[in-house]
């Protein structure tokens, strides 16, 4: 926000500094699109692992799912503010999971929640109350209808459209885009959990505490024998009952799944609880469960066993980045073959943005935090930039209706990406910001640089 003082100074500057095209600017202004203090957690070193159902079965991902993945990660399908802030669906739902660290001042009350009816992205949908809700993981979404924290929408398609059009002020998505988004979201699997067997029961690998917890989970509540944890969180049904309930958290909310919940904090519809301990204490209070310390510990152990998942995170690396680049590249090739202009544009936009971002992980001579292998870093950067320009050539050819030229350029793009850029990046990775030590030095100095005047004077 530009303060009044900023505007005043800007006005003065306007008069004083006119050697060239005149535009005013705030002297102390913060010109970022999102409010100062925003944390999108985009620099996280560990990124949630995504398993698509087709990949899990060993099949090739369909064009529709690939296109949905692309749209999901493209700011272009959302509205003006989101686009300018470079925000896509994937910003909050990183690789289809959640984003526990995301925090936007004025839109969040704690990391991991976000007000979808706030003023920032679509003033028309602003309800003038700061009522953020937890950013949910989309793993297993196809099993988890109805949609929304209070289950307000029966159809995932309606829900997704509402997010795009009303929450983020995007243009009405085309039928193709909406179909693709829904197809992609329905492909996002739960991470496999080796502790669970048939009907959501713990298998033989479970320990004593977890087994005691499992028994407690199905034990009738003392004051209401018709109820138990398992009545709503049905183990054989992805730990949900597709219903809304009042569990003493100020309203009716949909039963959330407990699968992979270890990685879905914070908990409850508004993200009020940090961990399973607080969640168990809430039910203990709300339903008069009179849990002993042992009961509490056993229930937590059980929740942790149910909420587990194999290899929940990947360490961000050149390989991880190229996995996505490779998925989107395949989609681009198919889109050129099908002359699908909308998909080609989306691919050029999203891939180009990601490749540009990747180049910044290989700093040039201006970054004093990174030393060594400067020539190699430059080669890596140059190679990535050439890839970006090759993508642009594809877009230019397609805009001119020349799909043959686009096809020929795609071969150049493919070679530049996988035969030139990828090996260069892999070889230079130890001197890039993917190296944790370099990254730490870089981050520390960057934080120092970006502190606000108030922070600096403290």
């Amino acid at each position: 926000m530009i303060g009044r003082r900023g505007l005043l100074v800007a006005a003065t500057l306007f008069v004083l500094l006119l050697p060239r095209d005149a535009t005013s600017f705030p002297i102390d202004g913060d010109q970022a699109v999102l409010p100062a203090g925003t944390e999108l957690n985009e620099d996280a070193r560990d990124v949630p692992r995504e398993i698509l159902h087709s990949e899990y079965r060993g099949d090739r991902t369909s064009y529709l799912v690939g296109l949905g993945d692309l749209a999901f990660n493209s700011p272009a399908i959302l509205g003006d503010v989101a686009r300018r802030a470079n925000i896509s669906c994937g910003t909050c739902h990183v690789n289809g999971a959640s984003n526990a660290k995301l925090f936007v001042p004025g839109m969040s009350t704690r990391p991991g929640n976000f007000d979808t009816t706030g003023p920032l992205f679509n003033p028309k949908a602003d309800n003038h109350v700061l009522d953020p809700i937890r950013i949910p993981s989309l793993r297993g979404a196809r099993y988890l209808a109805p949609y929304g924290h209070d289950g307000r929408m029966a159809s995932l398609r309606d829900f997704v459209r509402n997010v795009v059009v009303n929450e983020f002020a995007g243009p009405e998505p085309s039928t193709a885009t909406l179909d693709a988004l829904v197809a992609y979201i329905q492909e996002i699997d739960f991470l496999p959990n080796q502790k669970l067997g048939a009907r959501g029961r713990l298998n033989e690998s479970a320990n004593e505490a977890e087994r005691r917890g499992e028994a407690l989970f199905s034990k009738p509540f003392p004051h209401d024998p018709n109820l138990s944890c398992a009545v709503c969180h049905q183990p054989a049904g992805a730990f949900v009952d597709h219903q809304q309930h009042d569990v003493g958290s100020n309203g009716l909310f949909k039963t959330p799944t407990l699968l992979n919940a270890n990685f879905n904090a914070p908990y409850f519809h508004d993200g009020r609880y940090d961990d399973f301990g607080q969640v168990v204490d809430h039910f203990d209070r709300a339903f008069g469960l009179v849990l002993s310390a042992q009961d509490r510990a056993d229930l937590i152990a059980y929740l942790r066993a149910v909420g587990d998942g194999r290899q929940p995170y990947d360490r961000d690396s050149v390989s991880v980045r190229f996995k996505e680049i490779s998925t989107f590249s395949l989609l681009l090739a198919q889109a050129i073959g099908m002359r699908d202009r909308e998909a080609i544009e989306l691919a050029v936009d999203t891939l180009g943005g990601e490749l540009r971002d990747l180049a910044e992980w290989f700093p040039d001579h201006r970054n004093p935090a990174v030393t060594g292998a400067l020539t190699e870093r430059r080669l890596a950067r140059a190679a990535l930039k050439d890839v970006v320009i090759s993508l642009r050539r594809i877009a230019i050819a397609v805009a001119a209706g020349d799909f043959e030229a686009a096809n020929i350029e795609y071969r150049t793009y493919y070679d530049l990406t996988f035969s030139r850029a990828m090996p260069l990046l892999r070889g230079t990775e130890p001197w890039s910001l993917f190296n944790p030590a370099l990254r730490e030095a870089h981050d520390a100095q960057r934080r120092q640089m970006l502190r606000t005047p108030a922070q600096a004077q403290r």
């Binding site: 530009i2 900023g6 100074v9 500057l13 004083l16 500094l17 050697p19 060239r20 095209d21 535009t23 005013s24 600017f25 705030p26 002297i27 102390d28 913060d30 010109q31 970022a32 699109v33 999102l34 686009r83 300018r84 802030a85 470079n86 936009d349 180009g352 943005g353 540009r356 971002d357 910044e360 040039d364 001579h365 201006r366 970054n367 004093p368 935090a369 400067l374 020539t375 430059r378 080669l379 950067r381 140059a382 930039k385 050439d386 970006v388 320009i389 642009r392 050539r393 230019i396 030095a441 870089h442 100095q445 960057r446 120092q448 640089m449 970006l450 502190r451 005047p453 600096a456 004077q457």
Partner: protein, 281 residues
């Protein structure tokens, strides 16, 4: 008439100031080429002669930056915070316009002068204290900056200006201007990232017109027209008052299109495809 046109057609907007760009520009160029030839560089190719004629603008821009930095030093001495901020902003203009040259030709000085994003020295090191902390005790850093800019100014007088390296510089900067500025950009603390971008685009236009425009026009008028139009679009896109209203997708597309055009133009004017990172060829 924009800043570059003003500079090219004479400080006082004399002859040619109101002619369409191409004509005024050619008139000026003919003069420059003639002057260069008379100065004894008759053996140079026309492109080398144009590259040589860019030196004057470079000297002027770095001179402007040096002057601004000295003004900053004076403001610091009397602890005039707002005056110092104004001087810092003014000193950036010529510097950012010269980025076509600085990043590739003098990378060590570039690091000393414009280290980013982890700067404790140079423009951004000073920016951190001046704008980030409202402090004026950056005399030492400013003295160092003055020394580096003066060194650069002196070096520019004699440094060989190879057209290939200048083309690399134009293409590299064109690419960079299209980068993501959603986080507030390079000069975030002073809120002048948009000014940086405007100066960058001015610098691209200046170098393109002075050095390459005629040669490309002679070999492929259509390509020259496309490059000119793309630069005009970039200028229009950054001609806004607030970075937050920047249409970054459009700018990115144009920046990449300009690079693609320069890549296509290079062999037609006897140069190699420009590298987008100096020192990576």
């Amino acid at each position: 008439m924009n800043a570059v046109e003003k500079r090219i057609s004479g400080r006082n907007g004399a002859v040619g100031a109101h002619l369409p760009y191409a004509r005024s520009w050619r008139a000026a160029m003919l003069g420059v080429i003639a002057a260069t030839a008379l100065a004894g560089n008759a053996g140079a190719t026309p492109l080398e002669a144009s590259a040589e004629s860019y030196r004057r603008y470079l000297m002027e821009d770095i001179g402007q930056s040096l002057k601004g930095t000295r003004a900053l030093r004076e403001r610091l001495v009397v602890a005039d915070l707002d005056g110092a901020k104004r001087a810092w902003i003014e000193a950036r203009v010529g510097w950012e316009r010269s980025e076509v040259f600085t990043s590739g030709f003098v990378p060590e000085l570039d690091e000393q002068i414009d280290a980013w994003p982890n700067a404790s020295h140079g423009f951004h090191g000073i920016e951190v204290e001046l704008f980030g902390a409202n402090r004026t005790d950056v005399g030492e850093e400013t003295d160092a900056l003055i020394a580096h800019l003066a060194d650069l100014h002196a070096q520019i007088e004699n440094i060989p200006l190879a057209p290939q390296r200048l083309l690399n510089g134009v293409a590299r900067l064109a690419f960079e201007v299209g980068g993501n500025k959603a986080d507030g950009g390079e000069s975030r603390l002073s809120g002048t990232s948009l000014n940086d971008m405007q100066s960058n685009v001015d610098g691209i236009e200046l170098a393109y017109r002075v050095i390459f425009s005629d040669a490309i026009e002679a070999s492929d008028p259509q390509l020259a027209g496309a490059a000119h139009t793309t630069i005009e679009r970039m200028k229009a896109t950054v001609r806004i008052s607030d970075l937050r209203s920047l249409d970054s997708e459009k700018l990115r597309a144009d920046s990449e299109e300009l690079v693609a055009l320069l890549q296509s133009a290079a062999p037609k004017i006897g140069l190699s495809k420009p590298t987008l990172e100096e020192g990576s060829q």
